[in-house]
Amino acid sequence: MRINNKTIKITIGVFIFLFQLSYGQKKSIYFKFESESKEVYLIENGSGENVKELIYLKNKKENGNIIFYIKGQRFVYEKAKMIKKICNSSELSIEELLSPNEVVRYVAKVQKKYPMWYKYPSKEYPKIFIVESLINCRVVLFEVNWQYYIQ
């Protein structure tokens, strides 16, 4: 079979397209959120002592936005801008659900490059989803962005 220039150009084009498809878009990253959990961690709050705080805290605002705290890290779901999905846990193929300690490590890793976070949305970083379990094997996914705060 003769391979002419046109065939080579098409082949290269297809490869570039597939490459873009594979690497141009980052996979999403998923954080576990157990709203019923009573698990606590210790944190300094400026009183000179370590105080106990729940690892998972959630605060729904009147405008429908939701603030999630995972081990002190603050994530904001903005109802007007971000996705919320409800699905059966069996339909969800999440390779990795990050634990609270992994979430803290992930935030520290991003902050090493962008101390006050990147501009959202970003092509450089994946979308973040909080995964919260509902009853009947259903889960709800909230797209969120990290937010700095200081007490």
Binding site: G46, G48, P115, M116, Y149
Partner: protein, 596 residues
């Protein structure tokens, strides 16, 4: 174990279906007769042998579903035997039972019944009004926030209008503000501005009349009906709402036939309601629900029509049109043609529209007159005790008000927003500061009154300390924003860019602490080392110097005591112990303090 539960459930269902089958349908209501259809199933009733047992016993009251069922069986038995004398005797029994329950005597059953219904409904109203009150409090609060936002927008448009009129088209002083997403500097002519102003007035007006309506409901619940909520656990039933509810109960009662009314009354007196009720078609109802209270108050609330209410025009038209028509008739010698009548009506409509427009403009202008240029640059959504402490702080401390003024100067690099969060889930966070987003730095106080860290529970002086502490964080972010020049935001810069910008900026102190403690940890050490005096000064002013200087300096440490803080670690053990004790003792001694 599961099997035992299943058997119990089956038995329970069988029992309930048996009693359900013995019930009377709505279309079978009737008076004294033992030929009525609803008695066909009487053999299913759990009755005594009718031939052997003499007269039917009186009804009894043990306030349980079982006494209700027993009574029901007795009523059916008496009905079959047409025991009219027994029937009449039960009403005397009802009267006595009501007198026993209400500890009061009545001349006859009807009066006793009427008061008993009020008694039942008073309990319902007292149990349910809180839900409605809470709902309207929330609605009013949300509408007030919208009102403030709308007024800020109108004020901003007015300021921009002044700039446009004097020809300042491209160098607005309000460049960091947005009007519904449009940078204020992008409004380049008066006509564009007027269109936006009209939209905003419409938004303001709609919110305003709804606010007034909701506020009227809330005030009615809080004032007109508050006597019942707050003080009246007595046998006083002299309230219009109870009279209305008693009427509904009587209406419900009168829907049934006489024998069924016996059942209804005995159910009430046994305090048996849905879903415990077994004789479903004759259920005893509770009418004083939250929904009823809301509908009742919405219908009867005090307060007039808002001038922004669409009905306000009709109200004025009804009030004044007759006078206008009379004048027109008089001017035309008592008669008007169809065309003349149409013209007069058109004139009346125009005149009333002008009156409405003028009234609305005057109202808005009065409100705008009370808003200073500074007010729109500091967004203060604090309410109640938090607002009270904030106001006292700004009035008492020049240091604090000077710090605040840095956010409202002629060319501020950022603006400050105060709010409280009534749902803040943390029991340890007293407040937090969110760095600039689109030029706005937000300070959020913990307003969750169930938490020890909330401003509601903490002493006023400590709330003042928290506000000052957070304003210092805001001031640090304001300085950083002026250095990084990043479009009103702090995100999107790499670590190298941060280092480069801060090292070349006007604030070497910030750069020093940033380098030593990193982005997550530099502000508290810097505050502990350099701003505790500022906090102590403001607290001293706030507290009218009621305590020693040392006391205020110790209090200023709250929120700054971290294990790795060099300034804290430079203190002796005695000093550290004293500071801990001063803070802890003061909080414990002044918990839940109010602010007036």
């Amino acid at each position: 174990m599961k099997n035992i539960y299943s058997i119990i459930v089956v038995i329970l269902f069988s029992f309930l279906s048996l009693t359900a089958n013995a019930q009377i349908s709505d279309d079978e209501l009737g008076e004294f007769t033992n030929k009525e259809d609803y008695l066909r199933d009487f053999e299913k009733l759990r009755m005594r042998d009718l031939e052997c047992c003499g007269e039917t016993p009186n009804l009894t009251f043990f306030y349980t579903p079982f006494s209700t069922q027993t009574n029901h069986d007795l009523i059916m038995e008496a009905r079959i035997r047409a025991h009219h004398a027994w029937f009449n005797r039960q009403y005397e029994g009802f009267k006595k039972e009501i007198e026993k329950q209400l500890k009061k005597t009545y001349p006859n059953f009807e009066q006793a019944q009427n008061e008993f219904y009020k008694h039942v409904e008073k309990k319902n109203v007292l149990a349910n009004h809180g839900v409605v009150e809470k709902k309207y409090k929330k609605k009013v609060k949300a509408r007030k926030v919208l009102k403030d936002e709308s007024l800020r927008n109108l004020k901003l448009l007015e300021l921009r209008r002044k700039e446009l009129i004097i020809g300042n088209i491209n160098n607005t002083n309000y460049g960091s503000f947005n009007y519904n997403g449009t940078p204020i500097g992008d409004i380049k002519n008066v006509s564009q501005l007027n269109t936006l102003k009209e939209q905003e007035i419409s938004t303001f007006g709609t919110n305003e009349w709804k606010l007034q309506d909701d506020d009227d409901v809330y005030r009615y619940l809080r004032s007109d009906l508050s006597q019942m909520w707050n003080y009246d656990n007595t046998n006083n039933y002299d309230y219009a709402i109870l009279r209305k509810l008693s009427e509904l109960q009587m209406h419900h009662f009168n829907r049934f036939g006489s024998w069924q009314q016996l059942d209804l009354m005995q159910m009430y007196l046994n305090d048996v309601r849905m879903p415990l009720v077994m004789v479903q078609q004759i259920h005893a109802g509770d009418f004083g629900t939250a929904q009823f209270i809301e509908n009742y108050v919405v219908r009867l609330r005090s307060g007039g029509e808002s001038i922004f209410d669409p009905k306000y025009f009709d109200y004025l038209f009804d009030m004044h049109s007759e006078e206008y028509y009379e004048e027109a008739y008089a001017a035309n010698g008592g008669g008007l043609t169809e065309e003349e009548l149409e013209e007069v009506t058109g004139n009346i409509i125009r005149e009333i529209e002008e009156i409405v427009t003028d009234e609305r403009e005057d109202y808005i202008n009065d409100l705008l007159g009370d808003i200073s240029e500074e007010d729109i640059k500091i967004i203060n959504n604090l309410t109640g005790k938090a607002k009270c402490v904030y106001d006292k702080l700004t009035n008492s401390s020049t240091g604090f008000s000077d710090a605040i003024k840095k956010f409202d100067g002629e060319f501020p690099v950022s603006h400050l927003k105060f709010s409280s969060d009534s749902n803040m889930p943390s029991n340890t966070k007293k407040a937090h500061t969110i760095p600039p987003t689109n030029f706005v730095i937000e300070i959020v106080l913990n307003g969750n009154s169930s938490k020890d860290a909330s401003y509601q529970k903490r002493p006023n002086l400590m709330v003042a300390k928290t506000i000052i502490h957070e304003v210092i964080h805001a001031e640090m972010w304001r300085k950083i924003l002026s250095i990084i020049n990043n479009g009103g935001n702090v995100n999107g810069l790499t670590a190298e860019e941060w280092t480069s910008k801060l090292s070349n900026g006007d604030y070497p102190g910030i750069f020093d602490y940033y380098t030593r403690f990193g982005v997550n940890g530099f502000q508290h050490p810097q505050m502990a080392a350099h701003y505790r005096d500022v906090i102590a000064d403001a607290l001293e002013d706030f507290d009218n110097n009621n305590n020693s200087r040392q006391f205020y300096e110790d209090i200023a440490w709250e929120g700054l005591i971290y294990r790795n803080d060099p300034t804290w670690n430079s203190l002796s053990s005695d000093e550290k112990e004293r500071i801990d004790n001063v803070i802890e003792t003061y909080i414990n001694q002044n918990i839940n303090e109010s602010c007036e």
